[in-house]
């Protein structure tokens, strides 16, 4: 179903918003590309036809830098900067696909999958599932551990539901609520492993300041926030025993 939904969008998701600036030329995996100054390496990579996998980034929102799957290597720089938060520079030589990057991305994906309903990893239809397919990481080696699989689904809103079991805490919904809709109804509550998306002060969506605009649902990369109409016969939440 995801590919059908995705095909409805003609445009490419460049990951970060476009900028107006002087032309900057760099190479991504050897492919020369020219973008506006102030653009992200992620945008340049997408423009060069060498898109980098991403989860927390989408070009309708400002870069955030939380998901850590879009790491790249840049010649002459230490470490593995996130492509979404790294601005382009003239002559930069970016590599998006090295064995080391694959190793780190796989490591990050394992962490996501260690707190995601196992029965929904395969055959799903979200951006997360696209990244699972691209990276080839569909399982993890952490064994059963602390998780959010038993967190109750919030189906108070008549149009969409929120299943925290599938949430990867990328804050795309929170940011969409702020940046796209200007409603500021959503936030992250708690910290560390306890961090979770909540509406207002941890209220059901329907009782919160949410105006049901749907920006968060559109922004969600995992179908944790998802339209109810997609589920004929009702939504089936995760089985905590499958952790």
């Amino acid at each position: 179903m995801w590919s059908e939904l995705r095909a409805l969008r003609e445009d490419v998701d460049y990951g970060t918003p476009p900028r107006d600036g002087e032309a900057v030329t760099l190479t991504v995996d050897g492919v020369p590309v020219t973008v506006a100054a102030g653009s992200s390496v992620m945008l340049a990579a997408a423009a060069a036809g060498r898109p980098v996998v991403k989860l927390c980034a989408t070009d309708m929102l400002e870069a955030f830098g939380s998901c850590r799957v879009c790491l790249v290597e840049i010649e002459g720089r230490r470490g593995f900067p996130a492509s979404c938060t790294t601005p382009v520079e003239p002559g930069m030589a970016v590599r998006t696909d090295t064995p080391r990057l694959a190793e780190l991305r796989a490591g990050v994906m394992e962490l996501y999958l260690s707190d995601f309903p196992a029965e929904d990893v395969l055959g799903g239809w979200s951006e997360l599932h696209e990244v699972i397919a691209t990276t080839g990481v569909s399982s993890h080696r952490y064994g059963p551990g602390e998780n959010h699989l038993a967190a109750p689904v919030d189906d108070s809103n008549p149009y969409f539901l929120f299943d925290p079991a599938k949430c990867i805490v990328c804050s795309r919904c929170v940011r969409a609520c702020e940046e796209v809709q200007g409603t500021f109804a959503l936030t992250i509550q708690g910290r560390g492993f306890e961090s979770k998306v909540v509406a207002s002060q941890g209220e059901p969506f329907l009782d919160s300041e949410c105006v049901s605009c749907g920006a968060c649902v559109q922004a969600c990369p995992t179908q944790s926030l998802v339209e109810k109409s997609l589920f004929e016969g009702g939504y089936r939440s995760a089985d905590p025993a499958q952790a």
């Binding site: 870069a63 955030f64 830098g65 939380s66 998901c67 850590r68 790491l71 470490g79 593995f80 996130a82 938060t85 601005p87 190793e103 780190l104 490591g107 990050v108 962490l111 996501y112 260690s114 707190d115 080696r141 952490y142 064994g143 551990g145 602390e146 990867i168 805490v169 804050s171 936030t187 992250i188 708690g190 910290r191 560390g192 492993f193 306890e194 961090s195």
Partner: protein
């Protein structure tokens, strides 16, 4: 006159009760006794440390219990008389005599709230000299001193200031990081409680040098005495014309305010601190942009640790070269080292870089409090590496420690004897990260909990080889893929514990990970 400290550490062991007992006994005996409440010398095992000025210098008594006070009077302590608690001339106590106190020279000597005493002991000389110089020259002076950030990252302070000074903006800020959250550290607190004018002087110099007009001091909520001390000292400086509009009649105007944290370790990270000062959830901002160019409220901001700024007045007063003459290699000046944990003499040791861990722990600290052999030392806070006893001759030097994948950090040293369970310490490092993670990036948010679970499994003997291999993979991901140093460094104590103490995990020592150097 009798001096009784009012530092939090002294208060926690009954300094107020001792001061009250001295006052009551003086009344009972009809003796006019002036009690001066000072800051602490930082000789914590002797607190409450009562001092009496004599012609031969201050003599000390400690630790003093309130019920020992009548005996002190009997012994004639007001004239420096001998008593079983006598420590002799305080300045000659070896722990103190062997220090090089450029920052803590007034500690235990002055009344922290007396501007007159502050100035009588050299205070404001640095700011006076700075105001007589061009701002750029002040930046050059700090740069030439070799001062590096004392919060942990050790970034050259002069370069940071130069960046802010060179930025064009409608306004600029100085933000002091006083969210001192590293376990076993207290030097920021001692500055703020014991010599608040020093921090405020350093802050004003930073503002003058960089063109900042307003400052914030972000103090952790666990430091109520520091907050009160800073508020009072700010009011005093304003009244005296050292803060506020047109400082001392010059064209330089600067004021500051105290902001109190809400109990989050992560707000000691500069970008999370900035978010918190702005009134938001304390979450990490990605860099660039650097706070020096786009920091607080989007403006160029000097973010400095308390000790960094407290080092600045001496640099301006006595010159960059004077300061740079202390230290070794690229680590110049002095560092207030904070001894804690299982150590006989816990306290503050301000010493030039180059002092070895062994000198600090054995000569200053007197070895373990338990009397058992030292087995492990954690340097640089909860994210610092654990060293075993074979590395005690390492000098305290940013580069030397980095070679062993350690760090000086904020100067905290926590000592453990041979009863320590290093697997539990490693587990705690991950558990700490899990609790204190801001929750933004996945390697830290999820990885820390997975790390704790893996260590628990290894210790229980569940598939130790596989879980150990997975733990190393996880540490690699956290180190290289995290957004900030909390997730990036939480593996350090874990990897060092695995390297030096594999037997505590039930792992054979030959299975040391090759990439851990």
């Amino acid at each position: 006159m009798v001096c009784v400290p009012r530092d939090s550490t002294a208060l926690s062991v009954g300094a107020d009760a001792v001061a009250a007992a001295i006052a009551a006994e003086a009344v009972r005996r009809g003796l006019p006794v002036e009690i001066k409440r000072t800051s602490s010398r930082g000789l914590f095992w002797l607190e409450p440390l009562v001092e009496v000025p004599t012609a031969a210098g201050a003599v000390g008594y400690g630790p003093v219990e309130p019920e020992e006070v009548p005996g002190l009077f009997e012994a004639g302590f007001l004239q420096g008389g001998r008593h079983s608690r006598s420590l002799g001339p305080v300045a000659q106590i070896p722990f103190l005599a062997r220090q090089e106190r450029l920052i803590f020279g007034r500690a235990g000597v002055t009344d922290p709230q007396s501007l007159a005493e502050y100035q009588a002991h050299g205070g404001l000389a640095g700011l006076r000299r700075a105001l007589s110089m061009a701002p750029a020259a002040v930046v050059d002076e700090v740069h030439a001193s070799g001062l590096r950030g004392r919060g942990g990252a050790a970034f050259p302070t002069g370069i940071k200031w130069r960046t802010v000074a060179g930025a064009q903006a409608p306004c600029k800020y100085v933000a002091v990081n006083a969210d001192e959250g590293d376990s076993g550290t207290y030097s920021d607190r001692m500055v703020m409680e014991g010599d608040p004018f020093l921090l405020l002087e350093g802050m004003a110099i930073a503002a003058y040098a960089t063109g900042a007009s307003h400052g914030y001091i972000y103090v952790r909520s666990e430091y109520p005495h520091a907050v009160a001390a800073l508020e009072a000292a700010l009011a005093t400086l304003r009244a005296a014309g050292w803060y506020g509009a047109r400082v001392q009649g010059s064209d330089f105007s600067f004021d500051a305010e105290v902001r109190v944290g809400a109990g989050a370790y992560i707000c000691g990270e500069e970008t999370a601190m900035i978010e918190s000062i702005e009134g938001k959830r304390g979450m990490i901002r990605y860099k660039p942009p650097l706070p020096a160019l786009k920091g607080l409220f989007g403006m160029p901001t000097v973010v400095n640790n308390v000790v960094s700024l407290a080092s600045v007045p001496a640099i301006l007063d006595r010159g960059a070269q004077f300061y740079a003459d202390y230290g070794m290699g690229r680590s110049r000046g002095t560092l207030p080292i904070q001894l804690a944990g299982n150590v006989k003499r816990a306290g503050l040791v301000e010493k030039a870089f180059g002092v070895t861990l062994r000198e600090l722990i054995e000569d200053f600290g007197g070895g373990t409090r338990s009397g058992r052999p030292v087995r492990a030392v954690q340097v640089g806070g909860p994210l610092g590496a654990y060293f075993d006893a074979s590395l005690l001759d390492l000098p305290l030097d940013y580069e030397a420690l980095a070679q062993h994948k350690g760090m000086a950090g904020h100067g905290g040293i926590v000592v453990f004897d041979d009863t320590v369970d290093m697997a539990e310490q490693a587990r705690y490092a991950m558990a700490f990260c899990a609790i204190e993670s801001c929750g933004k990036c996945t390697p830290c948010r999820v990885g820390s909990t997975r790390g704790r679970e893996l260590i628990e499994r290894i210790v229980r003997g569940e598939r130790p080889r596989e879980n150990h291999a997975q733990l190393l993979k996880l540490c690699d991901v956290m180190e290289n893929a995290s957004l900030c140093a909390l997730g990036g460094m939480a593996p350090w104590p874990v990897l060092s514990a695995l390297k030096y103490f594999p037997e505590d995990f039930g792992l054979p020592s030959e299975r040391q990970p090759a990439h851990v150097v």
